[in-house]
């Protein structure tokens, strides 16, 4: 019975930790499907986390925070788009520049505005997206198995996590079932074909990076106002890169990307669970090693399983008409 309780806790926390990964992974997917490499997920996520926490702290309203976070991320996406699309710059350099700039800028601004050593003030429950107890969760908690699953796993997440559950099919639907999705997938494969079909490559790619910015913004929002209750320096902690890795592992497809994110989320939850735990035979694993787990897994997965084969062919290549 203790094992069962452990497992429910683990799954519950998998969903929680996977939420920002899924959002950022889908953001990367939309951008890369259009041919724009989005290594700046990390920076956009962190910027959104900061903007959301700051705005929520000032206004006392999580929705204001969400809008601020999403706008901050979309603004950075626009810069990345301008560099990559209009100026045909190097997309990796542009993305990394965003990551580095935000890593420095966010704590500096936080310090300047709030004087709390680079953090934002702790948010009260009314200023953040706190856990929502779904209807009947209390009453059903006594029902064995199904009721417990409902109470422990399905119920008790923050609003953005539930939103994400809706966003996943929405993105998949957009990519595969709409004309926009057809064009999006086409422009990442063969922009010339899109151009000769009379569609603006530039416009399409801007739309894609902005959608990516929106989704990535939500991932930052959930970090600082859903899972956490303030912005903390470097709180994205590589999740943007992890999401990118999950997207590659997921072969630029929504559902496999989701599964990869859940796997990463699970490993992350597992490492939290293993901290300070005395395992049979092995003994206690130093916390430094358990924290490494998701990243080690990333390296193994990307080195071993992820082929370059399925990448959108025009990904990372600026589109230039030959004259």
């Amino acid at each position: 019975m203790e094992f069962f309780a452990d497992l429910t806790l683990l799954i519950d926390s998998t969903f929680r930790t996977a939420t920002p990964l899924v959002l950022a992974g889908l953001a990367g997917l939309v951008a890369e499907r259009s041919g724009i490499v989005d290594i700046g997920l990390e920076g956009k996520m962190l910027a959104a986390a900061f903007a959301a926490a700051a705005a929520a702290a000032v206004s006392g309203n999580p929705w204001v925070g969400m809008v601020a976070g999403v706008l901050a991320s979309m603004f950075l996406a626009l810069i990345h788009g301008y560099v990559s699309i209009a100026q045909r710059g190097n997309q990796i350099v542009s993305g990394m520049a965003i990551n580095i700039a935000v890593a420095g800028l966010a704590p500096t601004l936080a310090n300047f505005w709030f004087h709390q050593g680079g953090q934002t003030p702790l948010l009260g429950d009314e200023a953040r997206f706190s856990a929502i107890t779904l209807p009947f969760a209390e009453r059903l908690s006594d029902v064995p198995v199904l009721g417990q699953l409902y109470t422990e796993i399905i119920s008790g997440h923050n609003l953005v996590t539930y939103l994400t559950v809706l966003i996943i099919p929405a993105v998949a639907w957009m990519v595969y079932r709409t004309s926009f999705g057809l064009r999006l997938r086409a422009v990442g494969e063969n922009p010339e074909a899109v151009d000769t079909a009379g569609i603006s490559v530039t416009k399409l790619r801007y739309q894609a990076v902005l959608i990516g910015g929106l989704l990535c913004g939500l991932s930052g929002v959930v970090l600082s106002t859903g899972m956490g209750a303030a912005f903390i320096r470097d709180m994205s902690a590589g999740k943007g890169y992890l999401a990118l890795a999950a997207m590659i592992f997921g072969r630029w497809k929504p559902v496999p990307t989701l599964l990869a994110c859940l796997l990463f989320g699970f490993v992350d939850a597992l490492q939290g669970r293993l901290q300070g735990e005395n395992l049979p035979l092995i003994g206690e694993i130093p916390v430094q090693f358990t924290i490494m787990l998701p990243y080690v897994l990333t390296v193994i997965i990307l080195a071993g399983f992820a082929g370059k084969m399925d990448a959108p062919k025009a990904s990372g290549i600026p589109y230039e008409k030959d004259h």
Partner: protein, 511 residues
């Protein structure tokens, strides 16, 4: 009301810098005909097509579609006027199905499934009318080139094309697929469509067109009714009669065989058979010219000899030793050490490194030699001295070896490359397009150098698209067509007309 011309151009011009890619082109394409446009690479065919399809805007002149002057800003507008184009490199999204490719950009509504269902319905009529039978739900990447091409044609028709431009449509097709394409072109014509068939293959022009326009150096040089002309006449018109200059050739007598190819087969980049049963010999003290319309295997021939492409079958001997067969290739460095120099056909791609200085390019490929490096460190002074020497002896301008090679004109780049390759006193010199993109003054100099090498008893193989050049510097000329050598003539027995016929595929052997 009923305008007889599908497309007309009047004094159409397009320049790129100083290059007149299209110079005052006037042509008339009557409705319901198949009109051929022939010309060598660089004759300006692509530029013309891109203007007709709205990719480029003309610098001067007019395009008229059905009698109406048009100013296309983009391909969409050209399509709106009923012009469809099948590009040489297909504009298809490979993981998409044919159906998805056809509707891309004209889905008509946000719901993709509805758009597909509607398109499927609309396509039925076109399919019947033109006799298409395409697997709509197969991803393009799994289909043969011929099927992809038909999908492209159907895509254009679906968008309402009345005039179809086919750019080098047979470049990648097998002979059977080519026949099928010809059938489709005739079907299109029978249904009242106009087809612009652009190619450099003369037998195709003869097979499928009603009229033909010949382009050379950006100009229209002739318009003919296809049934009133011949492949030979067209070849001559295409290549042009430039002033030939006879270089002073000394008698070198009979010499030993330096290079020989025996039954060589090789595949091209697209997996097609590029070389078929090539056998040839180059002797010391001889220039063997290789003629042919571009794209008939000459590039692959250069590559197999210089160790850049594997043989599928056959053997290559150099100085009595096998340097390549189906199992082995000798890499370029080793070949260089053995005395084979190579002036690459595509100078910018394989001859020089564009972003590097002229000085560095002057020793490129030989940088490991003792003259230029010691224990992995470059001897910069030596290199500078060598480069300066080349600049002086070859009269390379501007006289500044520190400039990037890309800031020199084609002629000056080529002079430097030739100086570099000659400097190692090669026994065998392989030269691709010695004077492509080179100004007239430099042409003479380069020809003289090749002749000098020959007189000094070296073996030289020159591939050129320029017949006059080959007639001026070669001892013998081998003619390639569709990957085969159709014949080899002594230069005394060659003239443009004979070579032109052979380039069009007529076999002949007299030497």
């Amino acid at each position: 009301m009923d305008q007889p011309f599908a497309i007309e151009t009047r004094g159409l011009s397009k320049h790129f810098g100083d290059v007149r890619a299209n110079d005052e082109l006037s042509l008339i394409i009557p409705k319901g005909t198949v009109h051929g446009i022939v010309g060598e690479n660089g004759a300006g065919k692509s530029t013309l097509l891109k203007m007709l399809f709205g990719f480029y805007r003309p610098d001067g002149g007019d395009i008229l579609v059905r009698g109406e002057v048009v100013r296309f800003q983009n391909p969409m507008e050209a399509m709106g006027k009923g012009i469809g184009m099948v590009h040489q490199h297909f504009m298809l999204v490979e993981p998409f199905t044919i159906l998805e490719n056809i509707i891309l950009g004209s889905e008509g509504g946000a719901d993709l499934n509805a758009a597909k269902a509607k398109a499927r319905e609309d396509l039925k009529e076109l399919e019947e009318k033109f006799g298409f039978d395409l697997p709509f739900d197969e991803p393009v990447e799994r289909l043969s080139v011929g099927v992809r091409q038909r999908a492209e044609i159907l895509k254009a028709l679906y968008r309402g094309a009345e005039t179809l431009i086919l750019d080098e449509p047979t470049a990648v097709l097998t002979p059977q697929e080519t026949e099928q394409l010809f059938g489709l072109v005739r079907q299109l014509k029978a249904q009242g469509k106009t087809v612009l068939f652009v190619t450099h293959k003369l037998n195709e022009i003869m097979a499928v067109t009603d009229d033909v326009t010949v382009m050379r150096a950006g100009k229209v040089v002739a318009v003919r009714k296809t049934n009133e002309t011949s492949a030979a006449e067209l070849a001559e018109l295409m290549v042009g009669a430039k002033v030939a200059r006879e270089a002073a050739r000394a008698e070198t007598g009979e010499h030993k065989v330096r290079l020989s190819l025996n039954g060589v087969y090789a595949s091209g980049d697209r997996g097609h058979t590029a070389l078929t049963d090539i056998s040839l010999e180059v002797h010391d003290g001889e220039v063997l010219g290789v003629a042919g319309v571009a794209g008939n295997g000459q590039t692959e021939l250069l590559e197999v000899i210089t160790g850049l492409r594997r043989l599928a079958r056959g053997r290559i001997w150099y100085d009595g030793a096998v340097i390549a067969d189906e199992k082995t290739t000798t890499d370029p460095i080793t070949l260089r050490r053995m005395g084979v120099a190579h002036v690459a056909e595509d100078r910018l791609k394989t001859g020089v490194v564009e972003s590097m200085s002229a000085r560095e390019n002057a020793i490129l490929g030989y940088q490991r030699e003792a003259d230029f490096s010691r224990r992995g460190l470059l001897k910069l002074k030596e290199i500078a001295k060598r480069a300066a020497g080349y600049f002086e002896s070859q009269d390379v301008r501007p006289r500044n070896p520190n400039l990037p090679i890309s800031s020199f004109s084609g002629g000056n780049q080529q002079k430097l490359v030739i100086a570099r390759e000659i400097s190692r006193a090669p026994q065998l010199m392989i030269i691709g397009q010695p004077t492509r993109g080179v100004d007239i003054g430099a042409v003479t100099k380069i020809h003289d150098q090749i002749t000098e090498l020959r007189n000094a008893g070296k073996a030289i193989l020159v591939v050129s698209a320029d017949l006059d050049e080959l007639l001026a510097i070669s001892d013998r000329i081998a003619v390639m067509c569709e990957g085969e050598i159709v014949g080899t003539l002594k230069v005394e027995d060659s003239d443009e007309q004979t070579l032109g016929l052979m380039m069009a595929g007529e076999k002949r052997n007299a030497g």
